[in-house]
């Protein structure tokens, strides 16, 4: 077997994740990644590319994205304009075919990693429209009557936030991985990777405070790994001593710079309320 995906300097890959990715890479099938926002789904694609030393092609999906845009688009308006101006280009239709990300990935010189980010944002039919293309790694261009076929089947990584259910036929063709929220040990390793040599005390206090915030009931958006990393960066930048995070002693349960963890006014409000109640109860 050729290359194998493994943890990199910045990304901790768990065993189940490695297995799924390596299966997808070896069998040249798409890998579907789900998980809470902020657990590193998109990051995974960059790290796979980095770890295997391959170029990455990103296709970020929006609610208006159509499957065809990933293949190619025919710019009829430009051709019409050119025909009015008497441009010579107009006779060759291929001048007006805009290549999409899939085309780019199929014709790349070496095997690339193709990231299809947040596929669930698109229309419910979107995955179905790409079934054949991802299966065969080929498609037909009607305007020029040519078939674009992948020379090296790209490593396809698809992320989803579970906003829409994906069709069964699509799922059958993928390897599936669900990124679980890391437990404290794994989280400590992840933080260590990003901020090597972080003081043990600060790390412990930060993690305790972080998991406490996550446990607050009724939050609209629970803070996740990426928020924790941002927060620690801020803590370091502001040079906050670990003692300041130890909430019990201080009767001041709001961790400093909590804005990095809570991204929603109502959540902050709710949190403050709870802290207030908590403090009142202690008296």
């Amino acid at each position: 077997m050729a290359e194998r995906f493994d943890s990199t300097q910045r990304y901790l890959a768990t065993d189940d994740l490695k297995t799924a990715v390596n299966a997808g890479v070896t069998l040249e099938r798409p890998i579907l990644v789900k998980g809470e926002p902020g657990t590193g789904k998109t990051q995974l694609a960059y790290e796979v590319a980095d770890s295997l030393g391959k170029p990455i092609i990103e296709w970020h999906i929006k609610s208006t994205t159509k499957a065809q845009q990933g293949l190619y688009e025919y710019d009829a308006v430009a051709r019409l304009r050119d025909s009015q101006l008497g441009d010579d280009k107009v006779h060759d239709i291929s001048n007006y075919i805009m290549k999409g990300k899939l085309w780019e990935a199929f014709t790349a010189e070496e095997q690339p990693v193709l990231l299809i980010d947040e596929i669930d944002k698109a229309d419910i039919e979107f995955p179905n429209d790409l079934l054949l293309e991802l299966d065969q790694m080929a498609f037909f261009v009607y305007e020029t009557q040519e078939t674009v076929k992948a020379e090296h089947r790209p490593i396809v990584i698809i992320t989803s936030n579970n906003e829409k259910e994906l069709p069964d036929a699509f799922l059958r063709r993928c390897f599936f991985h669900y990124i679980q929220f890391p437990d404290e040990d794994t989280m400590a390793q992840i933080v260590e990777m990003h901020y090597p040599g972080l003081k043990k005390t600060l790390l412990n206090e930060a993690l305790t405070a972080f998991y406490k915030v996550r446990e607050v009931p009724g939050l609209k958006k629970k803070p996740s790994t990426s928020e924790l990393l941002d927060w620690i960066k801020l803590l370091l930048a502001e040079d906050i001593p670990p003692e300041a995070l130890r909430t019990e002693d201080q009767r001041k349960a709001i961790p400093p710079l909590y804005g990095a963890l809570l991204k929603n006014e109502q959540d902050v409000h709710l949190f403050e309320q709870l802290v207030f109640l908590d403090r009142r109860n202690r008296r």
Partner: protein, 406 residues
């Protein structure tokens, strides 16, 4: 690594096939394509490292929804348990049948091994296991036939029978810690219910029509053309609403007590709603609404969600749907302290009015037949509180309820 190639040999493939059908029996919709993918990846040596890798690989191949992970874990545990013990002395060269054979050598005396042979060997053992699992409905402890704990049957945990196949044991008594599939990490994600009746499909269609309302912001080309033609060639643009599912629903379900008779229909409604609405939140209550709901029925006392919290988190654009038989003592509605489960400071009627003030669109679905409503005073009271927006949980009632929610 190369030994995995022989997975395609008859017996090893059989083990996988049996596993595959057990998964399907457990309600996982694994398909032939996925099974073949699994075979192919094992041929490539992807699962050669350890049983854990095999577990991850098969999960990644066969299950495509984290809500089904827990069920997969249970089937995996039932099917492959005992393997890791046998594997300890074998290393990565192990084949499944070798695992099983090794298991026998490790634990059985010559005499016992012959007994097993007499039973028809290990294939029979696995078959018998599957049958017993089916036969057995309740949790079982002791005895000599059923699967459970501390028995002398060949199957189950903590048994005395040396060849016992370990099932769902939190921790092995003699050996290593919990296997990953025994940890049941994904238990809370399993929210499935059986469905598939015609009833739900019809209900679904009703819900769907109602979910496709919205602002007309898309060009309707055929209508524009025909309307322009009829307009004598002057452009007459026609718009249609975009097909989208922007409806948000809060589903509050009465559980326990008199609702036990209606569990099935509630499950059906729940699963239909769940597949139809992107924004669906559900809560449970008992008999009537008080200061708190809960989301996990097993931990109803430990993890309450305050009503104010619900109001704070879900805006008035949510449609509020109660499902309950509204059959109780009138005190449970109108008096403080009337709840049968706890002391409520404020009457249920006060709490439901708070909810109704926040959510203008609300209905109460009642699984009791409508003709019986008149005989129960509490139903009348709830009907009044809901301002006549209580509907029977029938197709017709659902239709009316949806009309009122619009």
């Amino acid at each position: 690594m190369s030994s995995w190639c022989s997975w395609t040999g008859a017996t090893a493939a059989d083990v996988l096939l049996k596993f595959f059908f057990m998964l399907r029996e457990a309600g996982l919709k694994a398909s032939l394509t996925e099974l073949l993918t699994l075979h192919e990846s094992m041929k490539q040596g992807l699962a050669a490292e350890s049983v854990d890798t095999f577990y991850y690989l098969s999960r990644s191949c066969l299950v495509k929804d984290e809500a089904h992970f827990d069920r997969f874990d249970r089937v995996f545990s039932a099917h492959f348990q005992g393997i890791e013990q046998a594997l300890a002395g074998l290393g990565s060269e192990a084949l499944p049948e070798d695992w099983l054979r090794r298991l026998a050598e490790l634990h059985l005396s010559e005499e016992e091994r012959q007994k097993i042979e007499a039973m028809g060997g290990f294939d029979e053992l696995m078959k018998a296991l599957a049958e017993r699992l089916k036969e057995q409905e309740k949790r079982h402890q002791g005895g000599s036939k059923m699967i459970g704990t501390a028995g002398t049957s060949p199957f189950g945990a903590y048994g005395y029978n040396p060849e016992g196949v370990r099932i769902g044991q939190g921790e092995s008594r003699h050996r290593r810690a919990v296997k990953v599939w025994d940890r049941r990490d994904f238990r809370n994600l399993d929210d499935t219910v059986q469905l598939g009746t015609r009833n739900i499909k019809i209900a679904l269609r009703k819900l769907r029509r109602f979910a496709r309302e919205g602002a007309a912001d898309q060009l309707d080309l055929p209508d524009t053309i025909s309307s322009t033609a009829r307009n004598g060639g002057l452009l007459d643009i026609r718009m249609v609403p975009e097909r989208h599912n922007a409806i948000k629903v809060l589903l509050c379900l009465d559980v326990g007590g008199s609702m036990d008779d209606h569990v099935r229909i509630c499950e059906e409604l729940f699963s239909a709603a769940r597949s139809e609405f992107k924004h669906l939140e559900y809560f449970y209550f008992h008999n009537f609404v008080y200061e708190g709901f809960w989301k996990d029925n097993r931990r109803r006392h430990a993890e309450r969600i305050g009503l104010y919290e619900v109001i704070h988190k879900y805006g008035p654009d949510y449609k509020l749907v109660f499902v309950g038989d509204a059959t109780m003592s009138p005190y449970e509605i109108s008096y403080p302290g009337g709840s049968i489960e706890h002391w409520n400071e404020e009457a249920g009627a006060v709490w439901i009015q708070r909810l109704l003030a926040h959510y203008p669109k609300a209905v109460w679905l009642n699984p009791e037949p409508q003709k019986r409503w008149a005989y129960t005073p509490s139903v009348q009271m709830v009907q009044e509180l809901m301002e006549d927006r209580m509907f029977p949980l029938s197709l017709r009632g659902l239709d009316d309820a949806i009309k009122s929610l619009r």
